[in-house]
Symmetry: D2
Subunit: 358 residues, 4 copies
């Protein structure tokens, strides 16, 4: 059984394979009367788009989104919004090798074990190309939460982390790594070039912060905001870890270090000022009004030129080398995907919260 | 809006507050004709039960589970299984302080911000006492997956980790910490005593492994096995981080280090032997046949004797000290809860997989 | 697989069998800060309670509801509301006959075919006793929609219909049939007595109208208000037909007869006056502001003293007579159940509508 | 809030408006390894296609379906199947009148009341054109239940019913009315011509029977097979009533008349022979092995040439005449839609049943 929908009242469904004619998303539950055109979505797809530097796959996909339903005279109508992106650069190549043998680190073996059939062309449905549909859906979600500002950045590549002292949000768009630390960005150029030349690949850690989220979003006990974010992030291709706020570091703090003390609001409101944010803006599964902060670990790209032992569908030993066009560090292009999922979860919870307290 | 159900075809709903008359779970979707009595569930509740050593809260709750529906002559009938646990030791005490001020690190402020009303007695619904209902439901789930063995243990307390060289599964039940390393268990006695005496608290990391899971469970793209596990674990009280397999460490490996190479099965089956398990038994959101491995970070208990700055409901500054009976390290009793959630997710996916391939 | 939950954002789950220790409902998604006590629910259970006249089953059940969670100091907290009703009068009798053979018209054979196991005591989970849990849940739902007035009545018993000219809402509570036509109520006394004496049973038609529903509730395309009502009503034990507004009669009208013409509101509002209500208050799956009107057909009670040919579990021919305590016309006590389901569907859609437009 | 998905484990989502560029369905949860091509779906769309006789709308839509995802080398892969149908004949016309005033009997006013915006072109999302997507999805569902034969027919137009004595399944495809009674078909020609000439419209009753359904499908208490069918049918445009088996007629039978007696199977199996089928093949919400029988009432088309009093968006009185291309009896083309929904519900329940008993 597959489940290709995500969300509770803002609910999107994606479809499409890496090498099919197109892929898309149906976004259901969007409120009516919001201004929406392709121009609201395209910039986010452009950020995720491959082939923009030598550090990402050279597959050339314009990733033009079309809105096929759900708007009238430039506004949403409350009906489902169908978004479609055509696949253009499905390079006609010989898939013989990956058709025959399972690529370690990829879903090849698992898909075969589950479904008894496998679209091996570019990984089929398991390809990270599917995340383009999430990014498009995320563009719609952002319109629902104009009060929220979402930023994701690469905090670490191959174990080399940014220096918080150098953090500058504006740097993110000035280098090919969504890196907020210009010194780290420069180091990463070298790291990435070396990995690529070695036929190897690197992992990455993405951080994402959403500010402007009011206190009160999140639906305990089983649709907690952090729980939904964890599902959203862990479901992104190549992700192996998720942290909220201080994350695993919190497990090493003492109670008095980890508590986020509160003080009366300096602006005179009845909302507290928090003196720290180890909680990552979420307590008891509900937003506290502080920035919602998530960290996401991406494993290194599994498609590498180094031969790896594997088996083929007949169960025989084989070695495999994954040629073709691949991101040497899939985590980088993960940043816009993390942002999109953050937007989708928050928009869903905004609407959910309205249901009960509206 | 609250969501108090979890699961897709095996679906449980919990109810109850820390200081209400009772709490419970309704487990829906359990297959018929399984032998089930209270004796199948009680041992798991006993593992989680408080007051068994000086290292956990001294609240005395027998946590006796009653089955109120769903069985006939000792067997499940396919109808909903209602499980109830009465609250016994709701100590009659003065809640004045926590009724007036928000405890930092707790959900007090967030619940008030969301609901505009708060059952402050012991944290109400946000209390970790709710996890007793999950553990009871988990007891039912285990009957659905007899082929799977699930073990959770504490791998780290206050930053002090077990030594993998000392790992012995049988040790887990021989100390009050679910610790598989006897040397670490001894060190932790001292750590815990010191923290308790200092009026402080400690965090912990739990590891959980499920062996015997066949390849093929998991429902991409949005009900991936790892995604559902991440939601399940992050939704446990005090959890701030979740890793699958190598987790964040994978982000620091190179592609060739992280790949889990495969070789023909030594047992002659058509299932591969994997030469490592960085993937934690899941690829593309689907189980691979290797053990499913999860790591979960618990923050230190927020209820501490050290005064912490906060505000009261009127928005005025206050300092708060949380007296009463608390676990100095909530992560310890988190181990049976992690096991239960692992069982619930796996049982759900076993049934889901049957729907499509049965 | 069983599904024992109903609703989308106001979602309730029921559990319990006819002859188990208790039955109940967990109501999830109720908004916070509503006044709620057992006294808000009990009157609806009392209306449905058996043994109040010679025309219903003589089983004596006090049907006392207990609220086990979800309220604090008399108000809802936004957390799940657990309602429990103990079974008292499970008469210790010999179930030999129905344990051995399938009662035609009942779910005995179907449950055995589905589950391979059957709690034959009073029909187990398939007993209409489960509807007590729905009625209790409906009591909570009504608090969410104070603007709506819901009334159900018996419009027809054994083919003998009320005369619309005699319709008087106040009569409903003055006779044992929820009959708004005193003349019909008198005739039905005789009909019912005759059927009971003959060891036979009668069917009934229930009508239910909800006034005060504003225009705009309902969630096309697949959670239309009428679609959800149809599911809710058809799911009640013994129901075989559901109509909205003019129902099947509409299929015999011409377009110009069936249209509900509109005129500017006589009260000066921008809401139209409708000149008829063939639509039953719903167009395109959305409420129009007119009363929402449903008609529901109940088959005659299947438990009768007349012998009916059947088979036993071994597949051999048998004749069966269903002795014991039964309603000669289950439709009568269906009226409070229809009201409850109407309340539950409307409350759910009120909250849903808020999510999008709040 | 809108909900545009239907089903539990076989789940489809539709999108698209009457006058948008296209409409479609995403079918999720289809088992892998089934042969599927456009040729499996197109015949059902062709049955529903308008413009095939003078008795349906003259809008010319080829309704060519394209499969955009979910298959590989002619077989399903277990991933979502995206189906798209382009709109071709969106006649460029003046919508001035219906843009200004609400058409009685249509969803115009209700959509405006709900969403505050309305795509008035051909009814937008509320148009019965959306049912083409359901019919396409139904084509996929049929592949999942090859053991089931589904037939729907028109049993009544404008109150003129077929004669059961004349019933011949093969006649259904020999006349433009899906009519199994040739004599009735002939009468209906005249009825329809007269109604069309009078600028009026007629209602219809559709019957649908599914044979080959094994005993045991259906998921009590809230996903009963009859309950899901009632939702599915009531959700079709223009439907106002649904009956299972004897339906409302059952409410007029006595218990001994309505019971479906059972006898040992004449074929020696352990499945009973039923001596009647008043239950319509469903007891307790579970299939019994008899044919599943549904009756569905369609109101007369609301688009008529007869002027009807209404109001405009400003709340002023107006009269409206709906010109353009319309079906004089929408119920006729409802037959393939009823069949599709029957297939979708049954396929969903087959997979659900597997989850628990597979």
């Amino acid at each position: 059984m597959s489940f290709n929908s995500f969300g509770r009242v803002l609910r999107f469904t994606t479809w499409g394979e890496s090498h099919g004619p197109a892929l898309g998303a149906v976004v259901d539950g969007c409120p009516p009367r919001l201004s929406l055109s392709e121009g609201d979505i395209q910039p986010f797809l452009d950020k995720r788009r491959p082939g923009q530097s030598r550090h990402t796959t050279q597959r050339q996909e314009p990733d033009r989104v079309r809105i096929l339903s759900g708007t009238f005279e430039g506004k949403t109508t409350g009906t489902p919004i169908s978004l479609m992106i055509e696949n253009v650069d499905q390079r006609s190549k010989d898939y013989g090798e990956i058709a025959q043998a399972y690529r370690p680190g990829h879903a090849d073996y698992a898909y075969d074990a589950k479904y008894g059939i496998r679209d091996y062309r570019g990984g089929g449905r398991s390809s990270a190309r599917e995340t383009a549909a999430r990014v498009a859906a995320g563009g719609v979600a952002r319109l629902i939460i104009p009060e929220v500002q979402i930023h994701a950045w690469v905090a670490e590549i191959g174990g080399d982390a940014i220096d918080p002292a150098n953090f500058d949000l504006e740097e993110i768009d000035r280098n090919p790594f969504f890196c907020p630390d210009p010194a780290a960005a420069q180091r990463w150029e070298g790291l990435m070039d070396a990995a690529r030349k070695a036929g190897s690949s690197l992992g990455a850690v993405i951080e994402c912060a959403a500010s402007g989220v009011p206190a009160g979003w999140g639906a305990p006990i089983y649709a907690k905001l952090d729980s939904d974010l964890a599902a959203a992030m862990m479901g992104i291709n190549a992700v192996k870890g998720v942290e909220i706020g201080a994350g695993f570091h919190a497990a090493r703090l003492r109670g008095e270090e980890n508590a986020d003390p509160m003080r009366p609001a300096s602006d005179g409101s009845n909302r507290p000022d928090f003196l720290s944010n180890n909680a990552g803006g979420i307590a008891g599964g509900i937003s506290t009004g502080q920035p919602v902060v998530v960290r996401v670990a991406f494993k290194p790209t599994s498609s590498i030129l180094t031969p790896v032992p594997t088996i083929n569908a007949a169960g025989e030993a084989a070695d495999i080398v994954t040629k073709g066009r691949h991101d040497p560090c899939v985590g980088i292009r993960g940043a816009p995907v993390v942002e999109a999922m953050m937007a989708l979860v928050l928009a869903d919870h905004k609407l959910l919260h309205r249901a009960q307290n509206g």
